[in-house]
């Protein structure tokens, strides 16, 4: 059986956050806030996951006057990867998750 590639603790947190709401589209900034990640850490992860086909993205129309936003969700392969991934150890997770922010 093919083994999934090992992921960094931060990537695992992103995978798990996206897997916690299967099918739901998430904004980048929401992930930054809810996972307490810096944008400089989150975006390379999103880019890598998209390149590997684990994440899909689409443009979502925003409120008037604002540009359309990019939203992300796991593909079937990404969901399987999240399912197979080991649990993130508390030491690697950093500060406690903040409350889930608004979903615009």
């Amino acid at each position: 059986m093919a083994r999934s590639r090992s992921h960094s603790p931060q990537t695992l947190r992103v995978l798990r956050a996206l897997a916690s709401e299967p099918g739901a589209w998430r904004h980048g900034y929401d992930l930054v806030v809810s996972l307490d990640l810096k944008s400089g850490s989150l975006y390379p992860i999103l880019i890598r996951l998209c390149d590997r086909g684990l994440l899909e993205s689409r443009w979502e129309a925003a409120e008037s006057g604002r540009p359309p936003r990019h939203v992300y969700r796991l593909t079937a392969a990404g969901a399987a990867e999240a399912e197979a991934a080991p649990l993130v150890r508390p030491a690697a997770t950093g500060p406690r998750r903040r409350a889930q922010v608004r979903t615009t």
Binding site: H27, G28, Y29, V32, K38, S39, G40, S41, L42, Y43, P44, I47, R48, S57, A62, R66, P67, P68, R69, H70, T104
Partner: protein, 264 residues
């Protein structure tokens, strides 16, 4: 400059417009102030983190080029002759920065086409061809031979572009040689400029010595370094420009040949 414009500018320069748009749209949702600036800074960092190794090679080459000029100014203070010197250095810095940005953007675009290795090979070949022309000329070869060899560098660029055009497309062919010629320009400047500063512009040929007496330069070494470094800077400009023209021609010929070939 506004944070979102910086993100757009960097993303566009690096050929990551889609991610740049995504980040800019997110920025609009981030509260203004420090939080937005930090988010924007992180986005710029994220765009840079994913750069191919070749982009970093371009950055290192640029640092080396600037280092050579700085070393020349320190070792030969007579090179600084007033405003003209600083204007020339300012222009040189602008060219180097433009090359770094160009090399980074082209690396990202070519990484998708899997042609980075081809670009490196073409760059080394173009640099080698120009170096060979210089060697032949300095060894006192007949002028006709030196002139004939001038087609070598552009010829390599044209063939490389035609190869990449046949493999992928016209645009990719020109991009491939664009990156190759930027790398070749840096490599030639590194070799020529480094050698000039290290050996104080030696060897001094009779023509150089004759011109020195009427130049007003404080000493022969300073004059030789000034002359040689100026030539290296010209080469840094000339090699990419000439190579690009040859690449466009090579890519065009390959495109025409492809169109004429009957489809299987």
């Amino acid at each position: 400059m506004r944070a979102d414009r910086v993100v757009t500018l960097v993303a566009s320069a690096l050929g990551r417009d889609d991610w740049g748009r995504a980040m800019r749209a997110e920025l609009a949702a981030v509260p203004r102030g420090m939080q937005r600036r930090r988010f924007a800074l992180g986005c710029v960092g994220a765009l840079l983190v994913g750069l191919p190794a070749l982009a970093w090679v371009g950055l290192a080459a640029a640092a080396a080029a600037l280092g050579i000029v700085a070393a020349a100014l320190v070792r030969f203070p007579g090179l600084e002759t007033g405003l003209g010197t600083w204007l020339a250095i300012g222009f040189f810095v602008v060219v180097v920065v433009a090359y770094v940005v160009g090399a980074a953007g082209l690396s990202v675009r070519l990484e998708r086409s899997m042609l980075l290795r081809g670009a490196v090979l073409a760059g080394a070949s173009i640099a080698g061809a120009w170096w060979a022309v210089g060697l032949v000329a300095s060894e006192g070869a007949p002028p006709l031979m030196s002139t004939a060899m001038l087609v070598l560098g552009p010829g390599v660029a044209g063939v490389a572009a035609a190869w990449a055009t046949v493999r992928v497309s016209w645009a990719v062919g020109v991009q491939c040689v664009g990156l190759a010629s930027l790398l070749a320009g840096f490599l030639l400047f590194f070799l020529w400029g480094g050698q000039t500063v290290a050996f104080a512009g030696r060897p001094y040929d009779p023509g150089l010595v004759r011109d020195f007496h009427t130049s007003g330069a404080p000493d022969l070494a300073t004059y030789a370094v000034s002359d040689s470094l100026g030539s290296a800077m010209m080469l840094l400009l000339l090699v990419p420009l000439v190579s690009l023209v040859a690449a466009a021609a090579g890519a065009m010929v390959a495109t025409c040949a492809r169109r004429r070939r009957p489809s299987a």
